[in-house]
Symmetry: C2
Subunit: 421 residues, 2 copies
């Protein structure tokens, strides 16, 4: 057992922070928290070595529920284009390059390293349609020691030929990844990833649902990002009663753990289905702004008990840091509130909870410091921001709002310290 001492902050519940000034946290050999307290004796950690981190802050690590790894080169460019030219001139041509595993290795290594930099220890990411490049990405995550659900993308319609794959090839490629990454307790696992309904024929969607059921795999896709897309889905799947229901009919909506990105225009029936199925929303506020999507009804999701976490959604989003997603989520909820005072805006503790305990729940017992949670943590050295008498909560808020990776001194995933890739 190991015991760490620091100022410990986390969110057991969404409405308030747990703040332990000079607290202790005990972590067992499996990387799980066994106790957290300001009283060392209560942790039965007297015989353990205590690693004293002094005046630093210790917080749960970040979880990114939606990002496109093969769009990493395009982060921060073409940000003043409309969706369609952006997709056709930037996104699809870039993803096609991942037929080349050497290119993939070069870009993905940088991507994984930068996730590490910004303190994201668990990532749920789209790869491309290419099996071998997806394998490269999964091996890089394994090498890093961080957790990842990585999705070889299924798509076979409404896309350039170079990004279309037959259902047979898709399943074959997918199963070759499952064969390599077959430990259900491993940090790096495949996730079933139909790009979204407009890109997938019914056969592809059916194959995806079957893979998820057969191998007990998580599922990720996009949902209700814009109104044209919703109308198109209704046309492609005329029997469905909502976009979510269209996934549901293929076993892709909570039959196994499922994350759906965006959900900006989800309406009551879809929201009820998400709740019933335990589908978690990946809220991507910077992407929603950059791609001119709109403001997702996050307060409504929280009020109605729908699970929500954050996604950076590179390269629709430009910012890889989940801390900045918290800032943007609060700001966008204020715009929402400004139009409709019936729903209050998000608080810092709610945003933090979404980034940690709520988002982390997609990966298991991740995102909190309660006993039984895997120890995913960041050690924050905020000396350069802490130049006056700030409270611990103010120090955390300042780090979230104005800090960056320079203040992240150490990173832990499942109990192990993670070094730069």
């Amino acid at each position: 057992m190991k015991v760490y001492k620091a100022h410990i902050l986390y969110t057991k519940e969404k409405n308030r922070f747990e703040v332990l000034e000079n607290g202790y946290i005990a972590v067992d050999a499996d990387g799980c928290v066994t106790g957290v307290s300001t009283n060392l004796a209560s942790l039965h950690g007297e015989d353990s070595e205590v690693v004293d981190f002094g005046d630093r802050l210790l917080i749960p690590a970040m979880n990114d529920l939606h990002v496109h790894a093969p769009q990493y080169r395009n982060q921060g460019i073409a940000m003043d284009m409309e969706l369609l030219p952006w997709l056709h001139n930037y996104t699809f041509p870039e993803e096609m390059k991942y037929a080349d595993t050497e290119y993939a290795e070069r870009m993905y290594r940088r991507f994984v390293r930068d996730l590490w930099r910004v303190g994201t220890m668990r990532t749920c990411t789209f790869a491309s349609v290419h099996t071998e490049s997806t394998r490269v990405l999964m091996r890089l995550f394994q090498e890093s020691g961080m957790g990842a659900l990585v999705g070889k993308v299924g798509m076979n319609r409404n896309c350039p030929e170079g990004l279309s794959e037959s259902v047979e090839d898709f399943v074959h490629g997918y199963e070759s990844l499952i064969a390599e990454f077959n430990d259900p307790n491993a940090l790096v696992r495949p996730i079933v990833t139909p790009r979204f309904i407009p890109s997938c024929t019914p056969e592809m969607l059916r194959a995806c649902g079957e893979l998820a059921a057969k191998y007990h795999l998580h599922v990720q896709s996009h949902l209700s990002e814009n109104r044209d897309e919703i109308a198109l889905v209704q046309q492609l799947e005329p029997e469905s009663t909502s976009y979510g229901d269209a996934y549901d009919r293929y076993g892709l909506f909570g039959q196994t753990p499922t994350v759906m990105a965006h959900c900006v225009f989800s309406e009551s029936e879809e929201i009820a289905l998400m709740k019933r199925r335990g589908v978690i929303v990946a809220h991507c506020p910077t992407s929603n702004l950059n791609v001119t999507t709109g403001i997702a009804p996050i307060r409504q999701f929280l009020d109605e008990g729908v699970r929500v976490g954050f996604g950076s959604d590179i390269s629709g989003g430009h910012n890889l840091s989940i801390f900045q997603m918290m800032v943007y989520a609060i700001q966008m909820s204020k715009l929402h509130y400004q139009r409709n005072h019936a729903r209050s805006f998000l608080t810092l503790s709610e945003a933090f909870w979404m980034a940690t305990k709520s988002g982390g729940s997609f990966f298991g017992n991740v995102g909190s410091f309660e006993p039984g949670y895997e120890f995913d943590a960041l050690l924050i050295d905020d000396r350069d921001l802490n130049h006056d008498n700030y409270s611990l909560l103010e120090r955390l808020e300042r780090f979230i709002y104005i800090g960056d990776d320079r203040q992240i001194e150490k990173r832990f995933c499942r109990g192990k310290e993670i070094k730069e890739l």
Copy 2:
């Protein structure tokens, strides 16, 4: 004369970038640009030493048109509070501390250093009501070598007693600053600063207008930030036909160069008056989000020929970097566009132009690299962001969206390299 060689990017016009790959820029002994070209001979700079910055980007420096220096301690805290508790529990108590010049010196030194860090070479800032602390701030700017318009604040109603000053004391204190900072060509100058109409009696506003006229000083204040404030102004100044007109009646609306922060709810008459008087808008998008204000009609201002620059508005805003104001301004204009497709969203060149040539115009010939402009510049070493074959414009866009002060290698103000304070 000095000649610098680099990849030079700037915006002469708002609709496009000037991009000089391996360009040269010549700067005379007064710190003014005499020419910019890819052809060294055309600059008559053959006899000059050429300082070769290699593969780096050289761009105009940033201009911040609205910020509250004595709120710097509160940057990034209390961000999920409503306006009034925020003002009364955080802002006013903090400003009161500036009765103590030692506290002021400590905080202001950090503020000036951080402006330097983020590449803002010209700042138009509110100080507090305190004359001696304002003097401290002005001397720090002088010491730094950067440009600043610094405003001892006028306020004598609707505020805590410790922040209220009689008109007589205000004018007396103000003139003692003018006496010290009396060179009209100096980089650091006083600016007349009524806090806003609700904080100033008619006598205070009259005194401000007289100071501006008598000493040919610039003017700054707040305008049309929220609807309650506008209604209050109408009640306090019943003869005024708009909030802007209320300032105008006291000689505080373009009789001398004037900047007004926010202008979120400016309507047609006020907009027409702003245009006629050459009043420049300080657009503060992060503040408008954090304080639940709304989205300023920037596209309309540009279309109608109203001048616009950016303000960080610490601590309503949380981010000191004007580069991040560009990002937020584009994003917010997209939300505006999403609601009303009649006005397109801002492009990167427009945002860059607002941050440089348009915002810089409040300080004189500042913000461009055209001949006659003062050489305010940043040298950007973006090697860590430039990991693939990006065009020069893509490199600039990536630096703006995902870079930070780590990429700013050198800073120049009026021709001189500025070192850390």
